[in-house]
Symmetry: C2
Subunit: 258 residues, 2 copies
């Protein structure tokens, strides 16, 4: 299949650089077509602004979503944005690989999401009615494709456990898994996580590559996280709250996983 790896680390001679190279080799050896968006190497423009459209929509003040809509609909998006969208459409599977900085993705990758996930492409898709609230959360332009995070962290696994001081890693990643990837339609696979990167000896590095290799080999048939489709009957519309009879005792992020 076609796989896009979006990679966000500033130094090729790093653990992340080594994991990226391993990933590309493993996937190509298995017969997949791979493209890499190496955001630092591309000097990716991280900041969403009025320059993201080659032609403004008149004299109105810049409006992030209305200008994005205008640029996408009229084919006047900045060239770097359009090229990344083409790669997303081409790819059957998307991998985002990054170090966790301040409990989220690096700014350069956040800016890739903000600029590439345009209005009409990744949000603002579909109709609103009494039974639908746009094509999102399980529906949308990228439905039928798969996505997976590869995330490195300096902290220990216990720091990110159910009662760890940083909060559970599943909850830290929920805004990305559910809010960034499931939103425009992706089936989201469980993440591949590497803890305590500052103390990586040869044995653990070998174990890490072995485990990552197995996850890459299994991309096509790993069960995705069972997020609930927004328009599938589980949610009231337009309040977009879970119906009373759906997991009635549950609240929070975990309530959105069946």
């Amino acid at each position: 299949m076609n796989i896009l790896l979006v990679y966000a680390h500033p130094e090729p001679k790093s653990l992340n650089g080594a994991l990226r190279d391993f990933t590309v080799e493993r996937l190509e050896a298995a017969g997949h077509a791979v493209q890499v968006s190496d955001l630092y190497a591309m000097s990716w423009k991280a900041t969403l602004d009025a320059q993201d459209s080659r032609e403004r929509r008149g004299d109105a003040p810049f409006h992030p979503s209305l200008d994005s809509k205008h640029a996408f609909e009229n084919g006047v998006q900045a060239a770097d944005i359009a090229r990344e969208q083409e790669r997303l459409v081409w790819a059957d599977t998307l991998i985002l690989q990054f170090p966790l900085w301040w409990f989220s993705m690096p700014a350069i990758l956040k800016g890739w999401v903000e600029r590439v996930f345009a209005y009409g492409f990744a949000y603002g898709v579909g109709e609103h009615s009494d039974v639908r609230w746009g094509d999102r959360y399980g529906e949308g332009t990228l439905a039928g494709k798969r996505a997976m995070l590869v995330v490195t962290m300096g902290g220990w696994a216990s720091h990110y456990g159910p009662r760890g001081v940083n909060g559970p890693i599943d909850d830290i990643l929920f805004p990305i898994h559910h809010g960034v990837l499931y939103y425009p339609g992706y089936d989201v696979l469980p993440p591949f996580l590497v803890y305590r990167t500052g103390r990586m000896d040869d044995a653990r590095y070998a174990q890490t590559l072995d485990a990552l290799g197995k996850r890459l080999d299994a991309l096509a048939h790993t069960a995705p996280i069972a997020f609930r489709k927004q328009n599938g009957g589980a949610y009231e519309i337009p309040a977009l709250t879970l119906r009373e009879d759906v997991a009635p005792e549950r609240t929070g992020f975990a309530a959105h996983v069946a």
Copy 2:
């Protein structure tokens, strides 16, 4: 008191621009000294990289935290980083104002955090021992100061409620409240939230300003979110998990609020 407003919206003629102007006027009228870091107007460099140090630490590959440490310790940080750190030290209260984009802060603000919250300044502070794990989560350089988010959202309040499809807003903001602000020592006040910004009529705009004004008037005596101090006895060290006798039935982000 001294107040720093870090503001991240690309268009002055916007709801965010109006809220920023209102905030500055209200605070100055109350006798506070106010500085504004208007990241878009400053053309803030969002991407953390090797250029953030004016002098590299030898020929080693770039390492985000080790190079940050070297630059901070040796006074060779990029000038824009050092200036923002001076503002943070000057300010008794920090306000971060931004639109919620893809369930987090805009990339330009994330990049402000990554570059300004340097090793030795906001992380990598203090000693590690059997009873302490650095000066963080309630201790650190910025302890004794207060911080508050002002966040605008297109979605409805119900979409961000306990069973809303986006997840509860308190959980979405936890990585910022706890992971970015409480981590280097801030007391974090409850956020000021504005929903459904696409449908803001005059009456609701007036209500919004009134409510924001009251929050600004009360900055000095609003009770902060009761996060638990990492080194205060609630956590095992070094596992950094809540002790068995602390909120034994609870897991997840909410377990870290007393």
